[in-house]
């Protein structure tokens, strides 16, 4: 290439440096390095995308500052490479046009970064909508801020990962963990984002969940695994309001039985739970197991109902420990709840063992000689081991009733100090097959199927205790999920408002979920929190999704899903929409403006919004009807200020490359006579030296 060396030793240093830089920026070698580097970065980015999804790839690569700098460097290189060759010769036309095109293309991309719209719009059949939302982007809205008449908006674009998961050097952490060294034990918190501060009020965002959920507490998640079938079933137990009232919560388990969770604050009872087990197969009318705690230990008594009945018939209570005896009052195969509550006495409705229960009398001898024996009535249902009895039981005594009709079940008990224990009852075997403490990373065996071979392993995978007796629910982060079906709809931020008045400082923290306008979310579901400040005034905070008013009201008249005859795949989606109202501000339907438009695959609708930006509406997806809602059509709403620039750039690139080909039209022609003569002697070498002529 005939390119003059610009810098010379005799130039003054600054000029020489500048020229050297210029030449370096224009150098081909830099181009090769940049092109190769970009290719490598992009290749890695696709692997990242494969692992963490589109959002992850954007977060790690495409939407980062360093990636933009890399592209900017490339643009600089392209520019300098073209500029340094000025004045251009005729044969350089293609080269110049191509490089100009690339610059324009990159410039267009830069414009796209500024002020483009990429949102979604949902319209239900027969209903209207006038707003598009971008679920990946939102803002914190603060109203009634003291000393400010207008509301405050703070953008929240914190990406696809929870703040807690954004520990620095996560990759290296992984590597070092793999090597057996983890040097990051300290708790790490993401720095808070300051939203607003004046001398009285300070608003910060202190935490961010990209995915979250709200759970009633205590909440337990168990995973059941069946190794032979390689089968995995999660079971969730959540103490919602209903469960708090009943005292337990329950979940069905694939027809094999059920999983229940109970709570107790009594350490004796917690202990008895795993110790008061039947010592043999439960048969007949069942067995009552009584556990009596003494100091550190406890003693268990197994009393088959038949034996208790015999003793009752004989008229003597069965002695347990010293000074404690028990007597059967009633055995009811089918307990009558109504009469139990009204008459405080157990009756049976029939002989079918549907709700087996026993009524017992605990007889506690007075410690002093001659003192009257204290009697405690105990009613126990096989199904509900922890239903509190009416009378006060001695704290160290636990009574359990097992009946052969009891269906398979696993009971989980939350004891004091957030300890968990479990007990698995298998009906077929008529006994508790395993029991013990339940802890993380310690799978336990439970039911078995088919001769004790295929055992279901149960593992505690999540446990969220109730923090304080007043709060019944908790906002929990969810781990990153590559293909989150509810992408962006469970984002939450935690806002802290610190206010000072009269020397007193008050701090309030609240979790806000991301609100979306109707029809995405009903107005009732919007969360707006009022926060009392130290001076007695209140302010309102809410977290809202980024919205784009499209400038008109659209109604979905009809949605068509075309199918190839006999094929299970949709061949086309088409929405028939009517623009009901060109100006949503006046709020009236303007049927005169109503014209039907068609939005279908590969054929979007273009329509300018009030700011004059031409928005484009693409058929993207649909929501099948359900939950009382009709079918909904989802459009992608897009505005790209750089679109035309990119088109121009693309055109220039193509034209440029074509010119390069065209101007060397001899490239395709056969060799001249002279060349052939040369070829016959040294065909190949010459060909290599002048690749343009072969």
């Amino acid at each position: 290439m005939a390119r003059p060396k610009l810098y010379r030793a005799d130039q003054p240093f600054p000029l020489r440096t500048l020229l050297w830089l210029y030449e370096f920026s224009a150098s081909l070698k830099l181009a090769v390095v940049l092109i190769g580097g970009l290719a490598a970065v992009l290749a890695i980015a696709t692997f990242i995308e494969s692992n963490t999804g589109t959002a992850g790839a954007r977060w790690y690569v495409y939407h980062t500052a360093w990636f933009r700098i890399l592209l900017a460097l490339l643009a600089l290189n392209i520019f300098c490479a073209a500029a340094i060759r000025y004045p251009w010769k005729r044969y350089q036309t293609g080269f110049v046009v191509t490089h100009l095109g690339l610059l324009v293309l990159l410039g267009g991309s830069a414009m796209t970064y500024q002020g483009s719209v990429n949102s979604q719009m949902l319209v239900y059949q027969g209903q209207t909508s006038n707003v598009a939302v971008d679920h990946d982007s939102g803002y914190l809205l603060v109203n009634k801020l003291p000393g400010r008449s207008e509301s405050l908006q703070y953008p929240v674009d914190f990406g696809p990962f929870n703040w807690a998961d954004q520990k620095p050097g996560d990759f290296w952490r992984r590597v070092e963990t793999a090597l057996g060294r983890d040097n990051y034990p300290e708790p790490w918190t993401h720095p808070a984002q300051l939203v607003y501060e004046d001398d009285k009020t300070k608003i910060e965002i202190v935490d961010y969940y990209s995915r979250s959920e709200v759970r009633f507490t205590p909440f337990v998640q168990l995973t059941f695994r069946q190794a032979m079938l390689d089968f995995e079933i999660p079971v969730e137990l959540e103490f919602d309001a209903n469960a708090h009232q009943l005292g337990f919560t329950q979940s069905d388990f694939q027809g094999l039985g059920s999983v229940l969770m109970w709570r107790t604050t009594n350490p004796h009872q917690f202990r008895a739970f795993t110790e008061a087990l039947p010592d043999r197969t439960v048969e007949g009318d069942g067995v009552v197991v009584i556990w009596v705690g003494e100091g550190e230990d406890g003693e268990t008594f197994h009393l088959p109902v038949a034996k208790l009945q015999a003793s009752r018939d004989e008229g003597k209570p069965v002695p347990l420990t010293e000074g404690l005896a028990v007597e059967l009052v009633t055995y009811a195969p089918w307990a009558d709840f109504r009469r139990l509550t009204t008459e405080n006495k157990l009756y049976s409705q029939g002989d079918d063992p549907r709700i087996p229960a026993v009524e017992l009398k605990l007889i506690k001898q007075g410690t002093e000689e001659g003192a009257a024996a204290e009697e405690v009535q105990v009613v126990r249902f096989a199904q509900f081991p922890f239903t509190p009895g009416r009378a006060t039981m001695p704290a160290n005594v636990a009574v359990e009733f097992y009946h052969p009709s009891l269906a398979g079940r696993i009971d989980i008990l939350e004891g004091p100090e957030n300890k968990l224990a479990y007990r698995a009852w298998q009906q077929k075997l008529g006994r508790v097959v395993s029991a013990g403490p339940l802890e993380f990373d310690e799978p336990v065996s439970t039911w078995s199927m088919g001769g004790g071979q295929a055992t279901w392993q149960m593992e505690l995978t999540r446990y969220v205790p109730q923090d304080d007796p007043e709060t019944f629910y908790k906002v929990l982060p969810l781990p990153f999920l590559k293909d989150d079906p509810q992408r962006g709809t469970s984002r939450r931020i935690k806002v802290r408002v610190t206010s000072t008045a009269g020397g007193e400082t008050q701090e309030k923290e609240v979790w806000l979920k991301q609100n979306a306008p109707p029809p995405w979310q009903s107005p009732k579901a919007q969360q707006v929190e009022e926060i009392k400040l130290a001076d007695g005034s209140t302010l309102e905070v809410s977290f809202n999704v980024r919205q784009t008013p499209v400038g008109f009201t659209m109604r979905l008249d009809k949605f068509d899903l075309d199918v190839d005859p006999g094929a299970p795949m949709a061949s086309n989606y088409t929405s028939y929409v009517t623009i009901v109202n060109e100006n949503p501000a006046n709020g009236e339907a303007d049927e005169a403006a109503g014209r039907t438009r068609i939005i279908t695959m590969n054929e979007p609708l273009d329509k300018p919004d009030p700011q004059g930006r031409t928005l484009r509406f693409f058929q993207e997806n649909y929501l099948p009807p359900g939950d009382g809602m009709p079918l909904g059509s989802i459009f992608r709403v897009n505005y790209d200020p750089g679109r035309w620039v990119k088109y121009l750039g693309s055109l220039l690139v193509c034209v440029g490359i074509f010119i390069m080909f065209y101007m060397r039209a001899y490239f395709f022609k056969p060799a001249s006579k002279k060349m052939v003569a040369a070829e016959s002697t040294e065909v190949a070498k010459r060909a290599a030296d002048e690749p343009a002529v072969v």
Binding site: A43, Y62, K89, G94, N118, K482, D564, P670, A692
Partner: protein, 931 residues
């Protein structure tokens, strides 16, 4: 390579099979032509049978091991349908996996190819209980386990099990059951849809695609008319029910209408009830089908001395009855429109024209193109012709390289002829396929593989034959210019002497007329015709007065320019091509035969490379398509919604896939160069005293004229640890210095490598042009269909990476970093990026997430994951790519070794630097336009 060899073996095996034994021949031509609705389109039964039989038996034909009788797919399917019970006991299901055979049949039958249904399924008990039951208890348990584990749909059977063997066994077992079910379904003709139905739900198409409702009636349903109340076909119910009450009862019982409340299905009953009035006409036709088919079976079995002739007659009666029924039903469908009055809850829906048309009964003769395509199997035959051409060209090349010049050249000439035939034949195949599918042949992996192979051969032939065809073609092109227009170039004195130069104006006028006709025809076809190839309209999309849609206009402009450009140039190209056939001989005579031939032969490497590469692709497509259609599916089936656009398919996909073709050609050239580097002869540079080298390297060691033993000796010296270290450091230092080291080198690499590098360089430029244009057009399409020009989707990104790596090499070559070896290596290495964007994005990327988190599940990545499959042949592709890169490494090692060995030797000889004259001049700066 292994796969390639394997494929060749299979081809040879097939050829051996083709020698048919004596057997009675029955005429199945009418049977083959029965139109069948399957997989979203109407195709001849021939195609359907081929697909089903291939699924079950693994091949399109099957031989009875007892009678040695050979069956082709249509005949086999006929047998299955008419005598299912008999075929349950015949070994027809392919099952070659030994552990599975051992599990099912016992250790003594570990080896074998086929298995019969009754070998492993307890058929009698299965039929009684209505579910598949196996003979062996352990088998039964295994299948139940697989079924349970895969029920959630998260796992595939090949992911169930503790060990790799277990998982493989489970995968194979599930596959076997799938094939058995495919046989049973086919044998009951349940999925053989032969005549249109009257179901109003399909005719108004207000249904969910998930309901899998078929708009046609299956042959199986027609065969079981007496059980119509049990069959789940509403058309038959409507035509067989005695009155509306019965129809309502049956239909309600079928739970077909009540299941799906969201579309108020019951509301269609009044519409369906209209069919009752058509009963008198349609019912006899309906009932005539079964006896007609049974009659053909009698004739086929030769009952009472009947034979092939009777069979042909009865089969033609059967098919014409079917045809008649189809047409009657088609007419009857028009009457299924909404009633004027109906019950209160009846919401009448109009018939959907699109749906009616798409599922209309085809006209007679509509199946002929596909029958022809099936019979000829153009892409299978192409394998053979390409194979023959490749063999000739390769032998010619080898012969010419080992001094059998005359023989080599004659064989090369012959090879050129066969190549032309091969290309012409493949072209014809593509034309047939395009007509059948109604879209360009680039919608799935299989199609792109054959298309790329085709493009490779075209490009190779173009470059390789240019000296031969150019004079005639160029002159013909000029003759077809419109007289007195800008096309009409002035003649030079030399031109005046050319053939027909005096008749230029009359020829020009005639051709102008023809071109005008062609122009109009193409414009009409692409903008006005009623085919799927109407890609653009003549008028701009400016119908909306208040919303000017610039993007739509731009799209239209691109489309219109494509239309106009192709309409303008295609007729001229065709005329020039035809004309060149007549002009080529006289024109070449003027240039001189010897010279033309010399030039052509000097370009042999283009063809020697491209035809084997094309053959590789075609054989790969044929074999993988045959054995694992889930990877390369040769069927013409339905495609994703976003692909249903011939405009963009033609404009974008064709371009980008053709760029893969250019890349593949370059890849072939590069690989050939690598072989030269590895096995070729390194000759001393001119000016180097070979005796001097000899003196210091031992006798006969001078490169170029050494014997095998001394060469081995030299190689042995090269393998000494010290020398290897030296070689590597020299090689590494040499990286990025282009060909500078050749100037001072004492030996030169085989001379053909620089030719190959020059050729590859040209091919790379074509690839870059097509890739750049294709990628940008892809952006335009994405802008139209997804609403953004570029959004870093993996497919987009890999197309860009492919472009970038080629650009990096081109710029590197320009910068002097990349020399001859670098260009050749780049030709091979850059193609790996194309493989990744072509294959990897669909088959590798979806697996990364599973590998990372250890589950091995496939996930979808990006918007282009139309078919992220479980089965992918990934290990084969990965191995091939690895071996390919290894070849580059090994070739580089030899290259570096040769250079450093002799260099050091010469230095020892004291033949100091600068005293040798470089044979290869240092690369001259190439003009900037190449940038």
């Amino acid at each position: 390579m292994f796969r390639f060899l394997l494929s060749l073996c299979v081809l040879v095996g097939l050829a051996a099979n083709a020698v048919a034994a004596e057997q009675p021949s029955y005429d199945f031509s009418a049977w083959k032509r029965i139109p069948v609705l399957d997989d979203g389109r109407i195709k001849p039964l021939d195609s359907f049978a081929d697909e089903v039989v291939t699924l079950v038996t693994g091949r399109a034909k099957w031989t009875d091991p007892k009678t040695n009788r050979r069956y082709k797919a249509p005949e086999l399917l006929y047998n299955w349908i008419t005598k299912k019970e008999e075929w349950l006991g015949k070994p027809i299901i392919r099952c070659e996996y030994r552990p599975l055979r051992e599990l099912l049949l016992g250790a003594d039958q570990r080896e074998g190819t086929f298995i019969a249904i009754t070998d492993f399924i307890d058929w009698d008990r299965s039929r009684e209980e209505g579910t598949l039951l196996f003979h062996k208890k352990e088998v039964q348990e295994r299948f139940e386990g697989i079924e349970r584990a895969t029920r959630s749909g998260k796992k595939s059977p090949s992911q169930v099990g503790e060990t790799a063997e277990e998982r493989k066994l489970n995968g194979k077992a599930a596959e076997l059951v799938k094939h058995a079910m495919a046989f049973l379904t086919a044998a009951e003709a349940r999925n053989l849809y032969v005549v249109p139905g009257l179901d109003p739900r399909t005719l108004t198409h207000q249904f969910d695609p998930d309901t899998k409702l078929k708009p046609w009636i299956s042959l199986g349903t027609l065969m079981r008319l007496d059980e119509w109340q049990m069959e789940r076909d509403v058309t038959v119910a409507a035509l067989m029910a005695r009155d509306r009450n019965e129809l309502e009862q049956v239909v309600t019982l079928m739970r077909l209408y009540v299941n799906n409340e969201k579309h108020n299905e019951l509301a269609h009953l009044p519409q369906l009830a209209q069919a009752l009035s058509l009963q008198s006409e349609l019912r006899p036709q309906l009932e005539a089908i079964k006896p007609a088919l049974e009659q053909t079976r009698h004739d086929y079995d030769g009952v009472r001395g009947r034979g092939p002739n009777d069979f042909a007659r009865s089969m033609s009666i059967f098919t014409s009855k079917l045809n008649e029924l189809g047409r009657s039903l088609d007419a009857a469908r028009q009457k299924m429109g909404p009633l004027a009055d109906g019950p209160a809850d009846y919401k009448p829906l109009p018939l959907d024209e699109g749906q009616m048309q798409a599922s209309a009964y085809p006209s007679p003769g509509a199946m002929e193109t596909e029958i022809l395509y099936n019979e000829v199997q153009p892409f299978y035959v192409s394998c053979w012709i390409y194979g023959l051409a490749a063999m000739m060209l390769l032998s010619a090349w080898i012969l010419a390289s080992i001094n059998f010049h005359a023989l080599g050249r004659s064989l090369y000439l012959l090879g050129l002829g066969v190549t032309t035939v091969a290309i012409a034949f493949a072209t014809w195949g593509f034309v047939l396929r395009i007509i059948i599918a109604g879209r360009p042949p680039v919608t799935n992996m299989y199609e792109t593989v054959i298309w790329v192979s085709y493009v490779v051969s075209i490009l190779g032939a173009w470059f390789g034959l240019l000296p031969l065809i150019w004079p005639g073609l160029q002159w013909a092109w000029r003759l077809t210019a419109i007289p007195f227009s800008w096309e009409d170039e002035k003649l030079s004195i030399e031109d005046e002497r050319r053939t027909l130069a005096n008749f230029r104006t009359p020829i020009g006028i005639v051709s102008a007329g023809l071109r005008l006709a062609g122009f109009l025809a193409i414009v009409w076809f692409l903008t006005q015709s009623d085919s799927t190839f109407r890609i653009s309209s003549l008028t701009p999309p400016l119908t909306d007065e208040d919303t000017f849609a610039p993007n739509a206009v731009l799209t239209w402009l691109i489309g219109l320019s494509t239309v106009l450009a192709s309409a303008w140039y295609l007729p001229r190209a065709v005329l020039a091509l035809v004309g060149s056939v007549f002009l080529v001989v006289p024109e070449l005579r003027k240039v001189g035969w010897a010279e033309v031939w010399e030039q052509t032969f000097s370009r042999r490497l283009f063809l020697v490379t491209s035809i084997p590469v094309a053959l590789f692709g075609m054989v790969l497509a044929y074999n993988v398509g045959n054995i694992s259609p889930e990877i390369l599916n040769p069927r013409i089936g339905s495609i994703a919604a976003v692909l249903r656009n011939n405009y963009w398919l033609t404009i974008h996909v064709l371009t980008i896939v053709s760029s893969y073709g250019a890349g593949a050609l370059v890849w072939g050239l590069g690989n050939l160069a690598m072989l030269y580097y590895l096995f070729g002869r390194y000759s001393p540079s001119t000016g180097v005293d070979s005796s001097l080298l000899e003196k210091h390297l031992g006798s006969g060691a001078a490169p170029g004229n050494e014997g095998v033993f001394s060469r081995l000796k030299t190689a042995g010296r090269g393998l000494a640890p010290k020398q290897i270290r030296k070689t590597f450091s020299a090689g590494i230092q040499g990286l990025g210095s282009g060909d500078a080291h050749l100037a001072t080198a004492r030996v030169q690499p085989p001379k053909d490598v620089s030719t190959l590098a020059a050729f590859g360089y040209k091919g790379m430029q074509v690839a870059v042009l097509l890739l750049a244009a294709g990628t940008i057009l892809g952006g335009l399409w994405a802008d139209v269909s997804w609403g953004r020009f570029w959004d870093w989707d993996p497919k987009e990104v890999w197309a860009l990476i492919s472009l970038l790596v080629y650009l990096a090499f081109l710029h590197g070559r320009y910068a002097g970093w990349v020399g001859t070896f670098g260009t050749n290596a780049g030709s091979v290495l850059c193609f790996q990026a194309i493989v990744m964007s072509w294959y990897g994005v669909n088959f590798v990327l979806p697996k990364i997430h599973g590998w990372w988190n250890g589950t091995g599940e496939s996930t979808s990545v990006g918007l282009h994951s139309y078919a992220p499959g479980e089965a992918s042949g990934l290990e084969w592709v990965a191995l091939t790519c690895f071996l390919n890169v290894l070849l580059v490494g090994v070739a580089w090692a030899r290259y570096a070794m040769e250079m450093s060995l002799t260099n050091s030797a010469a230095t020892v000889a004291g033949n100091g630097d600068g005293t040798t004259t470089a044979s290869t001049p240092v690369r001259e700066p190439v003009e900037s336009a190449r940038d």
